[in-house]
Symmetry: C2
Subunit: 209 residues, 2 copies
């Protein structure tokens, strides 16, 4: 090949990143070469450090350097509400949005027959224990709005049936800032199905059954 | 923050990559954690290795671990044609396409008054020497089809004036596989300006003046 071997090897590694093709991988490698040496040094050492020091929280499954993780050990969080998520990425989205202050439980998988994926049985039974002993008043099953998310939702719901807490799921409908004109059929269907009663008579916002 | 500190630091570093936002940086970091440990190890060591072992070829400016680089020292390349490029990325595109078998010269910059960029003067004078002494029959100034590319082209052309080799530039026009309907105005203009005579009378494909 016409370029230095380590550059080419790095391109190969970068091209295995999600959503990164050959051209982007090349751009990444060349970008690194244009940066001051400290940047590459810090990147390499942070990757090694992360690998060595990070593991899953024994309670919720969050990525952490100490057990239990900062969320599970935070005394200011609402210990009455548990939010069940497919993965850490979804948890970070909720955390960064700052819209939830309860505790989390990460399933670490989803039900997807097409991809041959299923929920790890030990996580499901761990969730069962946690809900049985945790004294939660509510469990939010926050799976994604997709076929796989739906299947995952029902698998979790099934495993929690006959338990005490109230079980909820996220609202599906038009995304805020979106337009009806550009919404897809399934989203429009969800927004009609879950339409909210705003009649003055009952004077409160409630779901129409 | 709710996630382990090294993960967050790595996200910050990734988010400085070109075209990578916060969400993609997060996905990259979580992707690394899901891979077997060897992947992170190899990535970290390759980044360090590349940084330490890679430098610019003293002849053409290509990235290399040995001087001169594999292209400049390849006896099978056509030493009569020199292709002048803005950067290493463009060179890799040509190499991967396998459409050029001559030698390269990388300017390592471009003329862009808007961004306050100019060609490194030492590279321009180095190019002058190289062309004067290299015995090339043709120099292709392969700058990008943009305003900056045009300015760079004329700067290089000016520095090579009164030298012996034939000077050419890349053809601009409709990209193959593209459609006239979707082509932008400037591309359409270039494709009309550079239209090719296909009349049966002269029986050969030549540019119309």
């Amino acid at each position: 090949m016409s370029i230095s071997e380590p550059v080419e090897r790095l391109m190969k590694l970068f091209s295995r990143f999600p959503g990164v093709g050959d051209k982007t991988a090349r751009r990444f490698a060349l970008f690194l070469l244009q940066q001051p040496g400290e940047f590459s040094d810090e990147l390499a050492s942070t990757i090694s450090l992360m690998r060595e020091s990070t593991f899953s929280c024994s309670i919720c499954g969050n990525l952490t350097t100490e057990d239990p993780c900062p969320v599970c050990s935070d005394p200011f969080r609402d210990r009455g509400v548990l939010c069940v998520l497919e993965n850490v990425e979804d948890m970070l989205s909720l955390e960064q949005a700052g819209v939830f202050s309860g505790l989390y439980f990460i399933l670490g998988g989803r039900v997807s027959p097409m991809d041959g994926e299923d929920l790890p049985p030990e996580r499901l039974s761990r969730l069962g224990e946690y809900v049985r002993e945790g004294g939660f008043r509510e469990v939010i099953i926050a799976t994604n709005p997709s076929v796989e998310g739906d299947l995952t939702f029902y698998a979790v719901l099934d495993s929690l049936k006959s338990m005490k807490p109230r079980i909820t799921r996220l609202a599906f409908g038009l995304p805020l800032g979106g337009t009806i004109g550009y919404a897809d059929r399934v989203t429009l269907h969800a927004s009609i199905e879950s339409r909210v009663d705003v009649s003055l008579a009952n004077n409160s916002f409630e779901r129409k059954e």
